[in-house]
Symmetry: C2
Subunit: 429 residues, 2 copies
Amino acid sequence: MKKVGVAILGLGVVGGGTYKILTEHRELYKKAHGLDIEVESVLEIRKERALALGIEEGKIASNIAEICSNPEVDIVIEVMGGVEPAKTFVLAALNAGKSVVTSNKELFCKYNHELEKVAKKNNCGLFFEASCVGGVPVIRALLDNLQGNKITSMMGIINGTTNYILTKMSEANGSVSYEEVLKEAQALGYAELDPTADVEGYDASYKLSILSSLAFHTKIPFSKVHREGITSVSAEDIIYGKQLGFVLKLLAIGKNTDRGIEVRVHPTYVKSSHPLASVNDSYNAVYITGDAVEDVMLYGRGAGALPTGSAIVGDVIYCAKHNNYQYSTFNNTEDADPSTKFIDNFRSAYYLRLNVVDKAGVLAKLSAVFARYGISVAKMVQEAEKENGDVPLIFITHETKENSIKKAIADINASGDIAKLESVIRVVG
Amino acid sequence: MKKVGVAILGLGVVGGGTYKILTEHRELYKKAHGLDIEVESVLEIRKERALALGIEEGKIASNIAEICSNPEVDIVIEVMGGVEPAKTFVLAALNAGKSVVTSNKELFCKYNHELEKVAKKNNCGLFFEASCVGGVPVIRALLDNLQGNKITSMMGIINGTTNYILTKMSEANGSVSYEEVLKEAQALGYAELDPTADVEGYDASYKLSILSSLAFHTKIPFSKVHREGITSVSAEDIIYGKQLGFVLKLLAIGKNTDRGIEVRVHPTYVKSSHPLASVNDSYNAVYITGDAVEDVMLYGRGAGALPTGSAIVGDVIYCAKHNNYQYSTFNNTEDADPSTKFIDNFRSAYYLRLNVVDKAGVLAKLSAVFARYGISVAKMVQEAEKENGDVPLIFITHETKENSIKKAIADINASGDIAKLESVIRVVG
């Protein structure tokens, strides 16, 4: 029986869940793997959290140095979140020769180059399956299973909070606003009191940076991710989308094309027949396309105490069983390989919703604007005049360049006498 | 740059696909992994297959001994299928110190205990991701990612041929029979000329044996899998199922309950809102439930030259990169751990379709039979009398024991004067 000592840094939601899994399944891991995994130490400012979990006082460390110098600790689990003090603590653990398992997407996204260098130097493992999409086994799939492929595209619903909000707005059929659903989600604990990281797309962008770096074999810095959140999503667009056969999702999209790499997070209409369209509530999924495997989708709980704990404990067992350490494959650089080309002017289909100003001339004038920038229209719907006098006019374009749409919108806005632009949403599927 | 020599045994569909991926992506693997992977040798009776792929004559081996004694070969890929001569060849390769990557579900299901013993003795790797569900990364997810969990249930659509047939029957809305769709599938190459292994559920049972052994940490012998194929599926039941909100699938189900382990492959109605219900054509998916991760679904192409080749090449790269070897975790026994209890008398909901004989007394008499065995009915539908005078009567039961249903059916069949049983289909979701 191999004895494995672990320490947990942070006993919040995920830390508590991880502790629970490790202690409840201790016999299972002995039987299945010959591993006796014991939580030897925890670090948590709010000591009452540790006591509430039944952790004895002697195991509650007062500082990171105590954990680093504890010879019983082999693996340090970092589930504090945020850059500091997590980064300092992880570096201290690695320098003390402990392997590290982390769920910290912001830390890994921003500093993986530095952390992995130190891990290698000390011959330690650095595992990060829990940093992206909770219990869904996407990191190891990218690191190992799919390496036979040139991965061309990745599309994911990788933030639970925003997917919960958009699902509820969709279920309510336009009868509730974003603000109302956000409040409800906060009351239920699905959204933070400061929801910025989720609703503005930061969380999804950290994850996309990590996932696309693995898929495309070059560091994709967070700064290269085009990021738009869901705060300006309107109930109206959810309804109109439904009528057109679309479901509105916050998608994280990474593509590796002949023209270069594009990485972007934004609200997106997904065709209702696409497997991603039925990923609801706080479920997450990543849809990956490779030149050999064709399409693969990995689906499950992207967050939560136990699902994220599942990923952490999977890494702990892997680390304890194997003497080899996997590292991400993007060569520990802080920035992308200089040969990497990033595309801002990506191609997409678009949904444009306008409010008609000049009823008589609108179609001719808009057609002229679209023609000017080579935009071709796949579908047009003019809705009935509303009580307030608005006349909504909706276009779905064929695939076109982002810059062409931007120019067309600028022209429409500048003229003022054709129609008022209400919303622009990219369309996939 | 690490040089890695591979040999491919068998250049059928999967062998050819694997060769293609390895040769086309040679530069990618150099750049991404520092691995120069070269196909050093192939073994294929039909030499013209090798020549058609552009393999030079000097690399075509005449027998397995040539490959075993070739010092340039590090890894042997076995994609011949069937037990012999694959088993003899794999053992020879392992005994010659070569690691083996196999896609052979029948071989691995039946002889993994023997193969893994020899692999360990020779300090070689034995990799089998491609043996189950093609390009879908389910083996490594079970071996590594999900090990933090007690896995309680696994439900999979893990045979592409039968899923293709059932999807086409469903799309045709009852207008084509099983036999007609099978013929079409054979013409298109989706089904073998002798379709037995697929349509009788053998292929799915081999895979379920492997997957459930990994999930439940004990060898689940093929002989313990309750197996029913799709040959007696009727177009009528597909229609009636649709009306009731069900999709008919060949499901492989593994459960680890307090009462014991159940493993079974049979046609099953899946509620149309369940994620498995929308897995169509030759797509496959495995839906896994663990006590920490909750639900995870892995979806993709379960067969085909390139998707299966993707899994093989993923294993080749893993094997070449790491010095550790993973083995299945069921302890190299030929049979299940003696403490393992298997349940035949499992619980399920059931769909029963009968043809009414005695119109006046049927409901009272059937109610008496159901009451006798504690079967409670969740839904009953009596269809209009058909042109041929048949009156279909459909029951959906609440969850009940398999043996209770069997006894009730025996009583109905024995009496003869109540109704004639047309079909029985288990229901999940």
